[in-house]
Structure formats: structure tokens, C-alpha cells
């Protein structure tokens, strides 16, 4: 890992000065620390994707296949025919610049090619040359350019500096969605065997073992059992989860991050406690043991291949509907792709909460409910006994994850839950939350160590807003509903706002949840004392 600047130095290094040279003439920086490591050949071969021998983006010659130009041209053409979004977005941008300073990578770094408009121009310039009359005739005057190996390098650099968060798209007068552009760019690169390992390794793992981290069934069960032991120690209540159980009413699927690493694990414990307490008839699956879907960051085909397991497993187990855990891009896939790709889910029933009788009409077709929807419904119907004072040491703010915010609109459900389980909640400034929320800086497969500089820069706008509520209200806990957030935000907070922790909302729920037959709690789920009111928030 490359050493990165100290926070103050990094902040001072942000430079919005525009380079002298035209952007077409500025080569991408592919020195160590500025690119994601490429994937290993075995992952591509396992998935049957175009494979490539070991290479490094730092290499002068990337040894592209002989017919690489043809592959790109044909791939581009195919996608234009498949996606109206691509065609329209290639044609109608007026370069008004409204998107320019909306990207967190631009705000935190200042590289003009991280302005969404230029990220799209990277593709558009080639599109004009290959597919428009004006571009063919007028060339560079019409903004067209011929594709070269250097353009491919530029694509690789900048399509892996976009976290597909869609923030820019809400400011665009035509709704041009850079996530669509980046997805297409990455698909084209993938046709040449150019992928990054932090995405493709999880994809290959997920395909085989059912989850990104490659956790095998027996290990999955061990991990859950381990959490159950911890819960019993803290609460005195014994948890009885079931695995791959046929005939359960509900299949519960959550991202593997929730049972693999802190602080996601506490959220996982939270789910288990909640389900035990309400006596939910549910089962976990080792086969569909991943909510996330790194296929979204690879190609629509790969997304579909990974997503297929959810419905397949629900059908095999004969459940009535599916409940999904806290995850960001998982919910983009479920809300905007799953039913289209792998539906219709006619073997399932319209989800009904067994406790409140609420019919989730908004999930009538996909038949999958977000746990924030499920829990807020429980709270609304007074089905949970809650003691929010157990979270009193936390002054909480909430980070809207990009995908649930802009690909779904799940905004008030998590806030409702938090406000019912915590006494101290403070929202961040209005242009940094809800639909205008900032990315954690590590989404869309960029949560990898080798680009720490980029991640800290990309996460700066989020951290900056957290620091605002930290300074003003003493906020010390950042709640979120995304497994990537729970992995990416702790280092981000350590870097920019060191006194702020990160939690999932169901960890907070479980802290406050008064369970039947529980012993008096002295610690929270992290085995830390419940009350630390003596602890001063630093001013």
C-alpha cells in the first residue's frame, strides 16, 4: 500500500485549477497508488469472461488483443442497440456544467476528468468518431477522437474513479446518469479482459460459494453460531437461527460484509436478536448468502448470474417472501433490476408482515422487503419494546447510502427507526443528505487498499458533512444502511473525523430492544459499557 498524505496536507492539495492542455492531451496518471489492481486470470476463466494474462495498469504496453478496436466498436454498437439510455445520453448532453462540481471525486481531488461531464465525454468522443456523421467528417472540431490504446488506459483510469453513486444525475437537466456511462465503459473494458480484482474476485467467489468473501457453508454457520454465543452472553437470550430450512415463511438475505467484519457483524447480531424476539419464521441460506452483487459493477450479465440465486433459493426452500438486510447497491439491484432479470417471482406471495399484518404493496411483484421498511412497520405498530436510553452515549447522524437514496428513495424509514431507538439524532446539512447524499468514496467496487488516496478524497465531502454535525452537536456515531459503508466509513472517519464511529441501524435497534427474558444489560453489542456519559465529546 502506498503511503498517503496527512489529512491537512491532502485538504490543502485540493486544486481546482484547470490544466493548460486540452483534456484530450492530458494522459491518465497510472502510477502506483492511482489504479486498482487488475484481476487474476483464474477469476475471469472461472466465470467464462474474456481472460487476459497477468498485466499491470502501470505497464507501457497493455498487450491488448489484436482486434481490440473491432471488439470495442462492436461492443459499443451492441450496447447502443440494447440501451436507449446510452444512445440518448451520448447525444443530448449540452455541457452546461451543472454536474461539474457534484462529484465527490472532483470535489475532493480537483481532477477535471472527474467532472461527470468529462467522464462521459471520454466515451462520447469515441462515439462521435465511430457513430456520427459530423464526428466522422469534422473530427476533433466536432469533439470526436479516434480510439487509441491511450484512450483505453484513460477509460480504465476514470471508469474506476466513479462509484456509480448517481449524485450528478439528479442535477442534470436531462437526467443523464453517469452510472450508466460508467457501467457501459466498464463492460467495454471487460470485453478486453480489463477488470479489477477487488470486483472480480468477489464475483468469482460469490458465483461458487454464494458470497463475495468465499465463505463456505460450514464456515457461514460457524460465524452465525459465534454471534449467537455473543448475544447470549450480552443478553442472556439464546438465539436459534435456522439454515437452508425448507418451509420457513421468510428467507433472509444480507450482504456478507454483515457477518464477516466489524462493525457489520454487530448489525448482523441486531437482525438475529430482532428476529428471535419477534419469533419470526425465517431461515438463512448458505447458498444465497450474499445480498450484495458485484456483478452490478461488472456487467449486466454477471449481475443477473449472481442475482439469480435469490429467487432460485426462495423457490427451492418454498418460502413465501424474502426479507433483505441493510445494503446499498444490493438494493439498487433488487429495486431496479432483480424482477426484470430473474422474475417473475410468481412462486412467492405478496409480502405480509406476520406480526402486524401489513401488506407490503410496494413489493407486490418483486416480493422482497427492505428490513428498514419491515422494522419501521413493527415500531409503528408498537410490536417492539424499546429502551432508547441504552443508546444515550451515541449522538447519531445518518448517512443516506447512494443507492437506497437515488435508486429507491428509502429515506424516511431508516430515520424513523433511528429516532425510535436513539434519543440523540441530528441530520447533516440538507445538501449532503437524502437525494443529495454523498458517496462514502469507495462504492462500486473501489473499496480497495491500493487507491487509498482516491478513497479519502472521494469520501471527503461525506466526512466534511459529518465533521459539521460533530463540531456542532457532538455527533459521535454515523449510522448507515450499507455494508460497503460499514467497511469504508470507519477508515474514512479515522482519517478525517477521528472521534466518530460507524454503525448499522439494526445494531442500534438491538441495543435498544428489550427482549423477553433478557438479563440486565451492562454492555452494548460491542461489549462496551452502556453508559459513558462521563466521556466528554471534544469541543
Amino acid at each position: 500500500m502506498v503511503d498517503i498524505l496527512k489529512p491537512e496536507e491532502m485538504f490543502k492539495s485540493i486544486d481546482y485549477t484547470i490544466p493548460e492542455d486540452r483534456w484530450e492531451d492530458v494522459p491518465p496518471d497510472l502510477s502506483e497508488g492511482n489504479f486498482c489492481y487488475p484481476t487474476k486470470k483464474k477469476n475471469l476463466e472461472y466465470l467464462g469472461l474474456p481472460a487476459k494474462d497477468e498485466w499491470s495498469p502501470a505497464d507501457e504496453d497493455w498487450k491488448l488483443p489484436d482486434n481490440w478496436e473491432e471488439i470495442i466498436h462492436e461492443g459499443f454498437k451492441e450496447r447502443l442497440e440494447k440501451y436507449r439510455s446510452l444512445k440518448v445520453f451520448m447525444d443530448i448532453c449540452v455541457r452546461c456544467g451543472a454536474c461539474a462540481d457534484k462529484c465527490h471525486f472532483f470535489i475532493g481531488g480537483g481532477d477535471p476528468k472527474n467532472m461527470p461531464v468529462l467522464r462521459a465525454e471520454l466515451l462520447r468522443s469515441v462515439y462521435r468518431k465511430d457513430f456520427t456523421t459530423a464526428g466522422k467528417i469534422l473530427g476533433s472540431i466536432a469533439g470526436a477522437r479516434k480510439i487509441t490504446p491511450l484512450v483505453i488506459k484513460e477509460w480504465f483510469s476514470y471508469f474506476y474513479q466513479c462509484s456509480e453513486c448517481r449524485r450528478c444525475s439528479i442535477y442534470c437537466p436531462y437526467g443523464i446518469d453517469t452510472a450508466e456511462i460508467t457501467m457501459m465503459g466498464r463492460e467495454l473494458l471487460s470485453l478486453l479482459g480489463l477488470n479489477i480484482n477487488w470486483i472480480l474476485e468477489p464475483v468469482a467467489n460469490c458465483f461458487r460459494t454464494g458470497n463475495h468473501l468465499g465463505i463456505q457453508p460450514h464456515a457461514f454457520k460457524d460465524m452465525i453460531d459465534f454471534f449467537c454465543d455473543d448475544i447470549e452472553e450480552i443478553t442472556g437470550v439464546k438465539i436459534n437461527p435456522s439454515f437452508n430450512r425448507k418451509g420457513a415463511e421468510i428467507l433472509f438475505i444480507t450482504p456478507s460484509g454483515d457477518y464477516f467484519a466489524d462493525p457489520g457483524t454487530y448489525t448482523m447480531m441486531g437482525y438475529l436478536m430482532l428476529f428471535e424476539h419477534i419469533g419470526l419464521d425465517y431461515t438463512l441460506s448458505t447458498y444465497a448468502s450474499e445480498g450484495g452483487n458485484f456483478g452490478l459493477f461488472t456487467s449486466s450479465d454477471v449481475m443477473k448470474r449472481l442475482n439469480g440465486k435469490m429467487y432460485a433459493e426462495a423457490k427451492r426452500l418454498g418460502v413465501k417472501w424474502i426479507l433483505g438486510g441493510e445494503c446499498g447497491h444490493m438494493w439498487r439491484v433488487i429495486n431496479q433490476y432483480m424482477d426484470t432479470m430473474n422474475g417473475p417471482a410468481d412462486f412467492l406471495e405478496v409480502p405480509v408482515s406476520p406480526l402486524t399484518g401489513t401488506r407490503f404493496e410496494n413489493a407486490a411483484s418483486t416480493k422482497m422487503v427492505h428490513i428498514a421498511e419491515f422494522t419501521s412497520d413493527l415500531i409503528k405498530h408498537n410490536k417492539l419494546k424499546l429502551d432508547p436510553s441504552r443508546n444515550d452515549k451515541f449522538k447519531v447522524t445518518f448517512h443516506d447510502s447512494c443507492n437506497p437514496a437515488r435508486g429507491m428513495g428509502l429515506l424516511d424509514e431508516p430515520r424513523y427507526v433511528i429516532k425510535n431507538v436513539c434519543n440523540h439524532f441530528y441530520d447533516m446539512p440538507v445538501n449532503t443528505i437524502r437525494e443529495q447524499t454523498f458517496c462514502c468514496g469507495s462504492g462500486a467496487g473501489l473499496n480497495t487498499e491500493e487507491i487509498m488516496d482516491l478513497r479519502m478524497r472521494g469520501g471527503l465531502p461525506r466526512a466534511n458533512a459529518v465533521r459539521h454535525v460533530h463540531d456542532r452537536y457532538g455527533v459521535n456515531m454515523l449510522a448507515c444502511i450499507c455494508a460497503i459503508d460499514r467497511a469504508a466509513l470507519p477508515p474514512l472517519m479515522d482519517y478525517w473525523v477521528p472521534d466518530v464511529g460507524v454503525t448499522g441501524i439494526h445494531e442500534l435497534v438491538a441495543n435498544a430492544l428489550v427482549m423477553d427474558g433478557e438479563i440486565e444489560r451492562t454492555t452494548d453489542l460491542r461489549f462496551e459499557p452502556l453508559n459513558e456519559e462521563e466521556e466528554q465529546t471534544d469541543e
Binding site: 481546482y16 462540481d101 459530423a134 454457520k221 437452508n244 450479465d301 448470474r305 426484470t340 410496494n362 421498511e373
Partner: protein, 332 residues
């Protein structure tokens, strides 16, 4: 600095000269007054239809609205029915807001480094001048209908009166002409002077702005300064509108042909350029779809058959370990 605007400026000047010399000096009034305008209309219609149908040919495989407010979920949570619509009616309202009021542009903000912080400020200028530009343009087009309709309908007369409400000078000043020119200049100067915007601007971004400035300037010249006989002009335009085209006796000044030629070029240019945003905004899948993905299945016409890793394959891989861990299996 990016000097793409020089290409565009040169192009507009050359186009102006062509018309001035061609129609005014050399006297090809039929070419510039009849043939080219008809050609422009034909190319516009064909080009516009072609572009829209080309977009329509590609399907919308996934339902990908950008949601800008609370989704429809539980009864007691207030949905933002416009920014996150779940019904066709909501989508229509959202699109009307987008197209008529430039809703998304209104959200615009500016990120700035203030001391040790990054601050965001709501900025209205781009939205304001964009609105002013488009509505002025629209008003100018409506006003010009007086030259293409006989008798002139009442609504156009009322519109003209409203546009000339200040009653400044004679002939009375039309506000829309002034605001169009001012807004176009603002948008042009913004492109030239703001480094970020200058950096991303192509010749194709300056050209239509300069062309529209050229149209506005020649129009204003004719009306207020050099003067033309408007009855003769209407004679020509009515001839075009009734398919009995002819050049009025005595001809019209060269400046008029420059104006008309600029308009013709603009009309021809639309289908082949970013100006198609006027049609494209209707077809943007992030705006024109309801966020009802989980309620109603969206069909992808090319939904591919892909290779899944089935449960059977999975169990074959891990059966021993599963049995050992006490996990249920299909085949012992």
C-alpha cells in the same frame, strides 16, 4: 485556453457573409428566400423523426429512475409523489416540472472551499438564464407567427402586446428580443470565462449560441435600426407558408437574408446536434419512468439466458462439509 469558440465564430461570420453576398449582392434571392428555407424544413422534419425513431428503436431494458425523494412504501410515510413518482400521473407531473420549469437545474449548487471546510451554496444563475433563454426564444418564435399566418390570430396579437408592454420607442420594443440576446450572451460569456466550463466546451457548444446571437442581432437591426419593409417580408413568408412562394417585387435587403439564412442553418442543425435535447429530455429513462419497480415487473426484451451456478452444483461442491456442519442437504 480552449479557443473552440473561434471556430464557431468564424463559421457564423462566413455563413452570414454567404447570405449577404449571395442574396444581397449577387441577387440569389430565390435561393436564400425560398429554396433554402424549404430545404431546411424538410431536413428538420426528416432529421428529427429519424433521430427520435432511432432512439425509440433501442429498448429501455431496465427501469432506472433517479429517485429524488421519499419512495412509496408504508401508508403512514409521506411519499414524494413528484420527485419519486410511483404512478403515471406522478411521472407526467415530474416531466412537466422538468421540461417546463427545469426542476433539476433549479437544484444547482456550487461547492467551494471555505477555510478548512467544503461549503455548498445554492446558485440560481444558470437556472435563471437558462429559463430566460428558452422562454425568450419561445416568445420570439411565437411572435414570428404573425408573418406566417393570415389573418393573424388574436392570441398572437395579445402575445405581442404583452411582449411590447413597456411601449418603449417606435416600433415598440419587444422584451423577448432583448432578453434572448442578454441570456445568450450570458451563456456564451459563461462558456468563455469560467475555466471549468471553458474546459469542457466544444465548438459544437459555441456554434448554436453564436448562431442564435446572430439571429437575434440581425432581427433587432432590421426592426429598430436599418429598417425593412415588413409588408414585403410577410409577402415572402406567406408565400412560403401557402406553397406559393415568390420573391416580392423590388426584393428585400441583404440583412433580411442573413437573418433568414441563419434561421435555416439553425433549423437544419438541430437534428444533428445536441440541440436534440429538446426531444431527448422526453426520453430520458432516469426521469420518465415511475419508481414502481417492485410493484410491477418491467420487461427487458433482450433478457439474456445466462449461466447460473445452481444449488445442485453448489451442493455437489460442498456436500461433505455441509453434512458435517449439520446443514440440511438434498442428496445424502
Amino acid at each position: 485556453m480552449n479557443v473552440n469558440y473561434l471556430y464557431s465564430l468564424l463559421a457564423v461570420i462566413v455563413l452570414g457573409l454567404i447570405a449577404y453576398v449571395g442574396a444581397g449582392v449577387a441577387g440569389f434571392q430565390g435561393l436564400f428566400g425560398i429554396f433554402i428555407p424549404y430545404l431546411a424544413v424538410v431536413i428538420f422534419i426528416a432529421g428529427f423523426i429519424n433521430r427520435i425513431m432511432d432512439w425509440a428503436k433501442s429498448p429501455v431494458p431496465f427501469r432506472i429512475p433517479s429517485t429524488c425523494g421519499q419512495q412509496k412504501s408504508l401508508d403512514w410515510i409521506k411519499q414524494n409523489k413528484i420527485d419519486n413518482p410511483s404512478s403515471t400521473f406522478g411521472v407526467i407531473v415530474r416531466m412537466v416540472f422538468e421540461i417546463v420549469l427545469f426542476r433539476s437545474l433549479f437544484r444547482n449548487s456550487r461547492a467551494e472551499i471555505v477555510g478548512e471546510r467544503i461549503a455548498y451554496k445554492w446558485v440560481v444563475w444558470l437556472w435563471l438564464f437558462a429559463i430566460l433563454f428558452h422562454y425568450s426564444f419561445f416568445a420570439v418564435v411565437i411572435r414570428h407567427l404573425r408573418l406566417f399566418l393570415e389573418p393573424v390570430p388574436v392570441f398572437i396579437k395579445i402575445f405581442e402586446q404583452a411582449d411590447g408592454i413597456l411601449q418603449v420607442g417606435l416600433p415598440g420594443l419587444f422584451l423577448s428580443g432583448v432578453t434572448l440576446l442578454a441570456a445568450a450572451f450570458f451563456l456564451l460569456l459563461r462558456r468563455i470565462l469560467i475555466p471549468k466550463i471553458n474546459y469542457i466546451s466544444l465548438a459544437a457548444d459555441y456554434f448554436p449560441l453564436l448562431l442564435i446571437i446572430g439571429i437575434a442581432l440581425t432581427g433587432i437591426m432590421m426592426r429598430y435600426f436599418t429598417k425593412v419593409d415588413v409588408v414585403k417580408i410577410k409577402e415572402l413568408t406567406m408565400g412560403l407558408a401557402t406553397f406559393h412562394a415568390g420573391i416580392p417585387e423590388g426584393g428585400i435587403s441583404g440583412l433580411f437574408y442573413v437573418h433568414l439564412f441563419f434561421v435555416s442553418v439553425l433549423v437544419i442543425y438541430i437534428p444533428f446536434s445536441k440541440l436534440m435535447h429538446m426531444g431527448g429530455v422526453f426520453l430520458s429513462p432516469t426521469r420518465n419512468l415511475a419508481n414502481n419497480n417492485r410493484m410491477k415487473r418491467h420487461i427487458n426484451p433482450w433478457n439474456p439466458d445466462v449461466k447460473f451456478h445452481t444449488y445442485e452444483e453448489y451442493e455437489d461442491d460442498f456436500r461433505e462439509k455441509m453434512i458435517e456442519a449439520g446443514l440440511p442437504v438434498e442428496k445424502e
